[in-house]
């Protein structure tokens, strides 16, 4: 061992740089097999050399350059647009209401036909609720039933059935089919299930076992922004029971939720922070 240089750093570097003769190289290789510290030094040097000698650093620079000009445009103004649309929507609604009300107060010679062909009395419209959030509907309410029937209104609102681009982008992968924990089965509803009018409030059930002690289920409608804001219509923490197996927890949960007609998504997640999506499916309510 007297031939072993004290400076292992230098020794390893000379070996890599081919600065050792045949005998010295053999001595180094023998030492390498026995000396863990030397091996650590040598391996790091080799790794650094391989990395900086590869094309990856150049690729990083190239990608950083491309990214600066070709990555998706920033959408800082999205919320502002949302507000602008909301304000515009409000203005249109007010304008519409004014238009509906106008015949009642208009001079008798003006638009006489319209006055007589209005099906819904103009004075009921201001009392009509804004689109009710399903979460609100989940709580039984003694709200007066004499208001306009729901079906014609829902049938008109096709926008509630338009798939959410954001959630759909998650659907096309295995998250829905298996998720992180394939032992979790959502028995009701199956994916793409349609609840008929007679099946409201909708019911769903989670069965199986997972490795998680608690899970969240969440219901979203087709509103992209709501999903991006992580603001589900309904969210609930479910605590599971210990199952027989090692570290497994059983789930057998069923519930009912009143939802207005539209397209919805059911998510089951490991935690509220949306890290592991265990299940994701879509269903319609007619």
């Amino acid at each position: 061992m007297s031939n072993v240089p004290i400076d292992k750093e230098k020794w390893a570097e000379d070996y890599i740089d081919n600065q050792l003769d045949a005998v010295q190289r053999q001595a180094f290789e023998e030492a390498l097999a026995e000396d863990e510290a030397l091996r650590d030094i040598y391996e790091l040097k080799q790794e650094i050399r391989e990395y900086f000698g590869s094309e990856v650093p150049a690729l990083r620079k190239q990608l950083a350059h491309i990214s600066a000009s070709h990555f998706a445009p920033r959408r800082r103004s999205r919320r502002r647009w949302t507000w602008a649309l909301a304000v515009l929507g409000g203005a249109l609604l007010l304008g519409g209401l004014y238009w509906w009300r106008r015949p009642a107060h208009a001079p008798s010679g003006e638009l006489p036909q319209q006055d007589t062909t209005i099906v819904r009395p103009a004075d009921t419209l201001p009392r009509r609720k804004a689109p009710v959030l399903p979460l609100d509907e989940a709580t039984p309410s003694p709200a007066p039933r004499q208001e306009a029937p729901q079906e014609p209104i829902a049938a008109l609102d096709e926008s509630k059935f338009v798939p959410s681009a954001v959630i759909e982008s998650l659907m096309d992968e295995q998250v829905r089919a298996a998720g992180v924990d394939s032992a979790l089965v959502i028995t009701v509803p199956p994916n793409d299930f349609t609840y008929s009018k007679d099946e409201r409030p909708v019911s769903f059930a989670l069965k199986g076992d997972t490795k998680y002690e608690t899970v969240y289920y969440e219901i979203y409608n087709n509103d992209d922004q709501r999903f991006l804001d992580e603001a589900p219509l309904r969210s609930e923490l479910i605590t599971l029971d210990e199952a027989g197996g090692e570290g497994r927890f059983a789930i057998d949960y069923a519930t009912e939720v009143a939802l207005t007609p539209g397209l919805y998504y059911l998510l089951v997640k490991e935690s509220a922070a949306a890290l592991d999506v265990l299940h994701l499916s879509r269903f319609k309510v007619q």
Binding site: E9, F52, G53, V56, V180, F227, L275
Partner: protein, 188 residues
């Protein structure tokens, strides 16, 4: 082999731009949906392309789905991992294989990536001359040529400079608190 994989492997500028133009928006929406920022999405996208590059170079890439789905899965995985680390949780995702499927899990690749990031960061902390010496050395330029190019007095002086620079680089890498953890994982 997929045209995009081929393009990444060859660092084809046109293909890389096409990938950014076509898919970065979807990736941004995905990462945002997971609670990430614009910068998170940008980082994940870039890292994902490097992962794909590394895996294709190593002949480890097998895609049974579309390139877009695969890219989004890798970005998803990288972002979740980054977020977990931020939350001071574990680096690895035990069931990531199920989540991202295909030729994943990427745990090994991720450790490699993080070590490479560490190398890059340390390298940037070196002085300009050290960066130039090591840059040439790593490109396998001879000591004689480095001496001539950078104006050192002798080949030996160049070698000594290179040795000191590399030593400094390794010290910076080893002194980073991430290095210990990554070394441990690297040896698993």
């Amino acid at each position: 082999m997929d045209r995009y994989i081929q393009g990444i492997r060859q660092r084809d500028e046109r293909v890389l731009i096409e990938i950014y133009s076509k898919y970065s928006d979807a990736v941004y929406r995905r990462i945002k949906g997971l609670g990430g920022s614009y910068d998170d999405a940008q980082d994940a996208f870039q890292e994902a392309l490097i992962v794909i590059y590394n895996k294709s170079q190593a002949g480890e890439i097998v895609i049974h789905t579309t390139f877009e789905a695969y890219l989004k899965k890798v970005c998803h995985y990288l972002y979740i991992n980054k977020r977990r680390k931020k939350d001071e949780s574990t680096v690895t995702i035990p069931d990531a294989g199920t989540l991202v499927s295909e030729a994943l899990p990427l745990d090994e690749e991720l450790v490699r990536q993080e070590r490479q990031n560490l190398f890059e960061e340390a390298f940037k902390q070196l002085g300009e001359q050290c960066q130039r010496v090591l840059g040439l050395y790593f490109q396998k330029v001879s000591m004689k040529a480095i001496q001539a190019q950078l104006g050192f007095v002798s080949e030996e002086a160049t070698r000594t400079k290179k040795y000191r620079c590399q030593k400094k680089l390794e010290e910076l890498i080893r002194s980073d608190e991430r290095f210990g953890e990554l070394s441990h994982k690297n040896k698993k």
